[in-house]
């Protein structure tokens, strides 16, 4: 049952990603990107990572997509309908990317077998605190990973100041 859900979600992720890359209109690409992000969130639910799935949908499908739409709105509209939307070297680039993905896929397909799924062990580790994924994640974030968490907040502050400065009238 689980594998059918995986195949359905994987088909949605990959097809919407391909449509996003090959779509000529930028707004259509963004819509396909939303579909791909939401499907990846479904994949995270399938992997029993509910909090990460919620963050994925809130941050990616909610925040980043709106940011992209605003920038598409701010830049010139005729630029988004440019006739030549691909580089001249698009065919070698596509072939090389296909070879790269095939190589990585071949390697991981053959060598990932020793990490087998053990549902009982995973349930005890991934839901250690009160049987909840979010509680366990929050406990780890605020005890073992407190310093990286604070550094991430400083990074977000710096990014915010930098974005405001870059978007000013005269840089």
């Amino acid at each position: 049952m689980e594998i059918y859900a995986f195949y359905a979600i994987a088909a949605v992720v990959l097809s919407s990603a391909v449509l996003m890359v090959t779509s000529r209109n930028l707004v259509h690409s963004i819509v396909y990107m939303v579909i791909s992000f939401v499907a990846v969130g479904g994949l995270f639910i399938l992997l029993e990572a509910e909090f990460v799935a919620a963050v994925q949908i809130l941050v990616y499908a909610g925040g980043i997509v709106v940011l992209f739409l605003f920038v598409v709105m701010l830049v010139n509209v005729t630029e988004t309908y440019q006739v030549e939307f691909l580089h001249r070297q698009w065919l070698p680039a596509a072939v090389l990317s296909l070879i790269l993905a095939t190589q990585i896929g071949f390697l991981v397909w053959g060598n990932a077998g020793d990490l087998s799924a053990d549902p009982s062990a995973s349930a005890s580790v991934l839901r250690a605190v009160d049987g909840g994924n979010t509680e366990t994640l929050g406990m780890m974030l605020y005890t073992d990973y407190l310093l990286p968490f604070e550094v991430a907040s400083v990074l977000l502050l710096v990014a915010m100041i930098g974005a405001i400065y870059l978007s000013k009238k005269r840089v």
């Binding site: 920038v71 990585i104 780890m140």
Partner: protein
Amino acid sequence: MATLGLNHYLLLSALLFGIGVAGVLMRRNVIMVLMCLELIFNAANINLVAVSRFRPDMTGQVFTIFTIAVAAAEVAIGLGLVIAMFRNSQTVNVDEIHLLKG
């Protein structure tokens, strides 16, 4: 009937990474290049969460949270740069951005 293993997720992530790399190399629009970078980030996130599920170890999910935060910062800075660049040179085509070319 094959069971759903770690290699299924890793293969999907590799394919998504390949599509993202192809998009970065193929598209002319710099906004589109940033969007394809997000696809690559998503492929890395799938890897982290899948390995966290099958090890099993929560650290992968914690790092996914950090990756998403860094991706959000990267998008904010990148789109700020796109706006500044468009204001200066009136283009979002990566071929026409060659100020540093000798």
